[in-house]
């Protein structure tokens, strides 16, 4: 897991810088949400993926527009990486009519079904069987798409994980089970909540390949997902990928983080920042320099500011909308 992987050959310099931009977008989006939450300007609850940018960006980097994802409560990164418009995402968090869900869904339910984002999910593990169903459609209709299913280390202890993966395995479906192991559920450490070293090793219980990968290394994530994707596209069935990562922030809005140490947090923030890692690799490879990198960063930051302006300027949904959209 710790070897340094090659930069992905199929990715142009432009594409790599696009991914850098995307990762910055993810970071700033969630930093901004954090700020607005703290100021009481966003309602409800939210789960931030700051520190996990490389899993979202890397996994989605190899997908095409037809491919689908299912996401989780910690889904802003997945959403951005699958190509969502940050304006409409931010508008959703502001509960506005222009949001992805017209203000009805909020952070935990952003979806863009037409563009292959089958939705975030407030139920831990809830998206896993849904991803299996999506993959079943691909198989039955002979469509070429692959479904990538994000879930967390905590979700891997839900029955839906077991049932979903077993189904996909016996039906040999084109689906990638992508576990973002950020070491904790809400507070439960993966070390206390499972008795094994790697969640990826659970693949053996279903007779499918399991891959464990450095989740903060964008290139390692890309490589692993690419391999799984090719297997799925070629009729080779599902793969379980476990990407080890870390969430910098608390679980959700009110988290004193007593379940982990400051040292551990510092380590991940300073030694394992996925953006620092990526910058170093790209600069090392001569694909960018500090100035360009800084421009990318600032560009992303400004887009998020613009998203906030967009959201703030957007109308509230009308009360009439309360009772619409229940049935198709």
């Amino acid at each position: 897991m710790n070897k340094q992987v090659e930069l992905p050959k199929a990715f142009s310099k432009e594409r790599l810088l696009e991914l850098a931009h995307q990762m910055w977008l993810i970071r700033y989006f969630d930093e901004k949400v954090d700020e607005f939450f703290a100021r009481g300007l966003i309602h409800g609850t939210t789960h931030l993926c700051v520190g996990q940018e490389a899993t979202a960006a890397g996994a989605c980097a190899v997908l095409n527009e037809q491919d689908k994802i299912t996401s989780t409560h910690r889904g802003h990164g997945h959403c951005i990486a699958k190509g969502a418009d940050v304006n409409r995402m931010m508008a959703e968090l502001f509960a506005r009519e222009t949001g992805y869900c017209k203000g009805k869904g909020g952070s935990m339910h952003i979806a863009d079904v037409d563009r292959g984002n089958l939705g975030a999910n407030g139920i831990v593990g809830g998206g896993i069987p849904i991803a299996v169903g999506s993959a079943l459609t691909a198989k039955m209709k002979n469509l070429d798409y692959v479904t990538l299913c994000f879930f967390g280390d905590g979700a891997s202890n839900e029955g839906s994980f077991h049932e979903g993966i077993n189904l996909a395995s016996v039906w040999n479906l084109p689906v990638i089970f992508f576990c973002e192991n950020n070491q904790y559920g809400m507070s439960g450490s993966v070390k206390e909540m499972t008795n094994i070293e790697n969640i990826g090793d659970r693949a053996a219980a279903y007779g499918i390949p399991g891959i464990v990968v450095e989740g903060n290394d964008l290139f390692a994530v890309i490589e692993a997902t690419q391999e799984a994707l090719e297997r799925a596209r070629n009729g080779g069935g599902p793969t379980l990928i476990e990407a080890k990562t870390y969430r910098w922030k608390g679980h959700s809005k009110s988290d004193a983080k007593k379940y982990r140490t400051k040292e551990e947090e510092r380590f991940w923030r300073t030694e394992k920042d996925p953006l620092v890692f990526m910058a170093n690799r790209l600069i090392e490879a001569g694909l960018t320099d500090e100035q360009e990198w800084e421009n990318i960063r600032l560009q992303a930051k400004e887009e998020i500011e613009a998203a906030v302006r967009y959201a703030e300027a957007s109308p509230q949904p009308s009360l009439d909308s309360l009772e619409t959209d229940v049935y198709a």
């Binding site: 079904v113 039955m140 189904l167 229940v326």
Partner: protein, 329 residues
């Protein structure tokens, strides 16, 4: 017209839709060569093959989710759960996912799936295989809930359900599977949301669901001999409920008995009774509404106890007498 059983009617609805629409398929436990726990899918895998009559592992929550996911991406799955009691294992997918996806997503995406499942007691299968939990589903916005009481309705309603773009919970009653009725060949629809007056009468309205419909009709027959004219209404679909048909009938008869097999306490009968108590029919009521439902016990194994756990024809007759012996309020 030819007569076929309720089970055959359900099968025919599925088969005819599957011939017509490639997106329709069935999944469930032992629905292949075994033909399903109650034989409803018998012969279907031979016609449609194992891809479209898809035997699953014993994983109710997984297969319910697979149905949701496939519906969301363009298929029209029919999920068979072997016993409706097992909805308890699939409820997250049914009520947190299927029922809410479209709303949560702001009106995008749809989940056109049918969950078919046998409910009810009377087979000696005891407490974990005999429940009638339809009121759970009826309480959840985003679902439609259907309970056909005869073969004709079963076929027509199932076709409507398969064609509906929403998640539909379709309750079949085990004791009805073998009952025959005249059922046309070919596709026809019974609209979702339309009650059926199974027998007209002017003295008292009996609203009955599922297996209680034939029981109510039998009670009405007996009561007719005493000169009591019972109107028997079968809502057929609990959600949406055809309130108007019931209100009109009660406004005419002035008396209402509601009967279902499901436990009386907080059963769907409470919804019907309350709906009437709130409606304009209230002013026409000449006696308190009577609800009959299952006793507040798990379904016992012993056949006599089992029978007494849910309303029988005699109970309906008694309730009608009781409501008629009341002076106007």
């Amino acid at each position: 017209m030819r007569e076929i059983t309720y089970a055959e009617a359900v099968r025919e609805a599925m088969s005819e839709k599957m011939r017509e629409d490639q997106d329709v398929f069935i999944l469930g436990e032992d629905i292949g060569v075994y033909g399903g726990a109650f034989g409803v899918t018998r012969g279907m895998i031979e016609e449609f093959g194992p891809e479209r009559v898809r035997n699953t592992p014993i994983s109710e929550s997984g297969i319910a989710g697979a149905a949701v996911g496939s519906a969301l991406t363009g298929m029209r799955p029919i999920l068979e759960l072997q016993f409706s009691d097992f909805i308890t294992i699939a409820t997250d997918q049914i009520i947190n996912q299927a029922a809410k996806i479209r709303y949560m997503y702001g009106g995008k995406g749809k989940v056109p799936m049918v969950l078919r499942t046998p409910a009810g007691s009377g087979t000696g299968a005891a407490a974990q295989h005999s429940q009638s939990l339809e009121v759970w589903m009826a309480h959840i916005p985003g679902l439609k809930v259907i309970q056909p009481s005869n073969a004709y309705d079963a076929k027509g309603l199932l076709i409507s359900a398969i064609e509906d773009d929403n998640p539909v919970i379709f309750y079949e009653h085990k004791l009805l599977y073998g009952m025959k009725a005249e059922v046309p060949e070919g596709l026809y629809r019974v609209p979702i949301g339309q009650a059926d007056i199974k027998r007209e009468g002017k003295d008292v309205t009996v609203v009955a669901t599922a297996i209680m419909v034939p029981k109510a009709l039998q009670a009405a027959e007996t009561l007719a001999k005493e000169g009591i004219q019972v109107e028997v209404i079968d809502p057929r679909t609990l959600v949406p409920l055809d309130e108007q048909t019931i209100i009109s009938s009660v406004s005419k008869t002035g008396r209402l008995v509601v009967v279902h097999e499901s436990v009386k306490r907080a059963g769907y009968g409470a919804e019907i009774a309350s709906m009437i108590a709130e409606s304009e029919a209230f002013d026409y009521l000449d006696a308190p509404i009577q609800r009959l439902g299952g006793k507040a016990v798990p379904i016992p194994y012993n056949p006599e106890l089992e029978k007494h756990a849910v309303p029988q024809v005699e109970d309906i007759i008694q309730a009608v007498h009781a409501t008629l012996n009341r002076e106007g309020a």
